[in-house]
Symmetry: C2
Subunit: 408 residues, 2 copies
């Protein structure tokens, strides 16, 4: 997609975490995986203000504990080291030691304090990291030959079939501020958070507490609204690093350009979230559920998630079957009070349910719509003015194939 | 399986709803489906005390509304008419009229009052019943040639691959009391209730309120603990008919044999529930999750359901992959507070997680265990004394195949 302008936001589909000034990234194969890249980094020229959101799973993996503890010290980091192929989760005391060792090793290479390095891992649960390989990798990873953003974007992937990236630019007081992101999916994606890693960089100068509040709010509308299979992993994390090198007047929530910046950050988050959903394991389509007219935002969210999580809806979409009854069923068991006679449901432009009854539609037309790469479901509750959007994917043979044999 | 004795309960695997005295059943093909039987009935010689539990889905189908209203009149019914192939759900006013017409038609054939006939339907949502065919069927269904219990058990099936039945006998004051059941699954099976119909008959003489309380309690431990795909249908219902023809002293919860009767009813419910789970769409295995040591029964239930509902656990079991990390992950996002270091997880006889760490196990041994037709997962929380058991099945290619093309 070419660069497009969205109000005052310039979207750059081909850019990512190194578009903002002062960020470098790289990646390499250190030997956790058989062949593919498995170790990556982002480094900022100067310490960056940081905000993070983390999985709600009780079994938070070791690197998440280390990263949260480090960030808590001064809400700044300067670098991220990430491995794929092994989640360093359910690995006990040794897992923690290993995460600290990754942090220390990369901090040494960079000559910075340890707590300025965030550590993240994704992959298989319950196996110790091959630390000899990881350490050797960390010793070499800053070499010029590994220093490409492409390497980074690839090094974070597991069962993903493609890299996920996007960047935007906005003007803050006449200064160009860039926000770039890269992410990985793709199984175990469910609110809240997933086997999902999101890395967002920006050269904005921004107050920590406002960055944190914005990320939390935006995550609830983007990363926490995607579902691949309803499982919530031990390792999910989204980090935003803001290094201030754009030289703008410090952004706070009272700044006149605050909403513009926040819209840019949301756009990056939403694009990454949708790319993760579209690349869900085995998925052939992105499914978007738009819920309008709810009495509360929470009700709209819950309803959207109920539909997007239904295996029966997901298989029907895979089979291009306009089986609206499954959508209505998922609405009915969502736990949200719904007035059946006020409910309207549409599949794309085709109304399928209204006034408590199915609407007549031409089966072949809706089938054809369901063959598109993006399928939209619209739900109007006529109960109030709140809305939410949820994203997911279809459930296919390949999902079963990938997950019946991921480990062995 | 031959008849076996379980304390004082005789289990008869080959018997069903006509074992109890005074019950007849039958079924036929009336033309809703292309070929298979699609209309069935149970009739008692005399009005029977009845208890029912119904789906929690907001979009309760028309026959459920008619049946609940009828039962409310005097807590007695004498007959059940059931069709498969069309759920008569989301069918509005006409759907209600059709359900009433089925009730009236069968009541006329039997020469009994209309409110003594329960109506149930299962199948596709949102299409009107072909009432000409249904009415013609109801006019003929009492003919001797259709009057076999086998016909009934087949007429209630949809995507099921086999009939589900079991019966037990217990002695109450020296009188033999029989309890027989038949059920259908198999997609959209999830707590609470499912596209699941359960019909239980007994010749016990029993007080209505105690029968109702027992059914509710037992359903929460059996039918509401099974999951095939996490979807909860619009049509689920379990009915128990007790016609009193065994001639026992009336059972109430204060009767000395109350617990024995209740155990028998639970055994029938649990066997039917397990048979439904094992025959989940595309399933190759029954999965049983036993949770012990919870601080509350609700916590144990929620945890069991979280594991049994995980697509990642289900695909791993299909792939005979001892991927215990997915079990631990599902425990971690269940919403139930768990102390990781106190948790123990076993797959069958093989301990896989303890003291916050994976246990060493021989991969090939656990793989071999996972190839069995019944797979058990044991979770010990060490938080208290409460337990729960949940049942489900694996997630396979065939699940996707069946549900990507059910309607078209």
């Amino acid at each position: 997609m070419p660069a497009v302008s969205n109000k005052e936001i310039v979207v750059l589909e081909e850019e990512s975490v190194t578009l903002p000034k002062g960020f470098k990234a790289g990646g390499m194969h250190c030997g956790i995986k058989r062949k593919r890249l498995d170790l990556g980094y982002i480094v900022s020229e100067v310490p960056a203000t940081v905000a993070g959101v983390y999985t709600t799973n009780i079994f938070q993996a070791a690197p998440l504990l280390v990263t949260q503890e480090s960030i808590a010290k001064e809400n700044k980091i300067q670098a991220v080291i990430v491995n794929s192929g092994n989640a360093n989760a359910c690995t006990g005391e040794q897992g923690l030691l290993d995460a600290f060792e990754m942090q220390k090793g990369f901090a040494n290479e960079l000559g910075i304090e340890e707590h300025l390095v965030a550590v993240t891992s994704t992959g298989v649960i319950g196996e110790l990291l091959p630390m000899d390989k990881v350490k050797t990798g960390i010793n070499q990873i800053l070499q010029t030959k590994y220093a490409t953003e492409d390497n980074f974007k690839n090094a974070i992937l597991t069962t993903d079939t493609c890299i996920k990236q996007v960047a935007v630019q906005v003007k803050i007081n006449g200064k160009t501020v860039s926000i770039g992101g890269a992410a990985k999916g793709s199984g175990m994606i469910h609110p809240n958070m997933a086997t999902m890693l999101g890395f967002i960089t920006t050269d904005a100068n921004i107050a920590h507490e406002d960055l944190h509040a914005a990320l939390k709010d935006i995550t609830n509308q983007t990363f926490n609204m995607i579902t691949v299979d309803g499982d919530t992993s031990t390792n999910d994390m989204v980090l935003v690093l803001a290094n201030g090198l754009a030289g703008n007047e410090q952004l706070t929530k009272d700044h006149p350009d605050w909403e513009l910046f926040k819209s840019g950050l949301k756009l990056v988050s939403e694009e990454l979230a949708k790319k993760i959903a579209r690349d869900g394991e085995g998925a052939t389509k992105l499914v978007e559920v738009q819920v309008n007219g709810a009495y509360s935002h929470e009700a709209a969210r819950a309803l959207g998630k109920s539909i997007i999580s239904s295996n029966l809806v997901k298989t029907a979409i895979y089979g291009t079957d306009p089986n609206w009854g499954r959508i209505v069923t998922a609405i009915g068991y969502s736990g949200i009070p719904v007035e059946p006679n006020a409910l309207k449901v549409a599949i794309g432009p085709y109304k399928v349910f209204e006034n408590g009854l199915p609407c007549p539609f031409v089966e072949e037309e809706v089938k054809e719509y369901l063959e598109l790469e993006t399928v939209k479901i619209h739900v109007e509750l006529n109960q109030g003015n709140e809305s939410a959007t949820a994203w997911g994917c279809d459930l296919t043979y390949d999902y079963v194939k990938i997950n019946a044999s991921y480990r062995t």
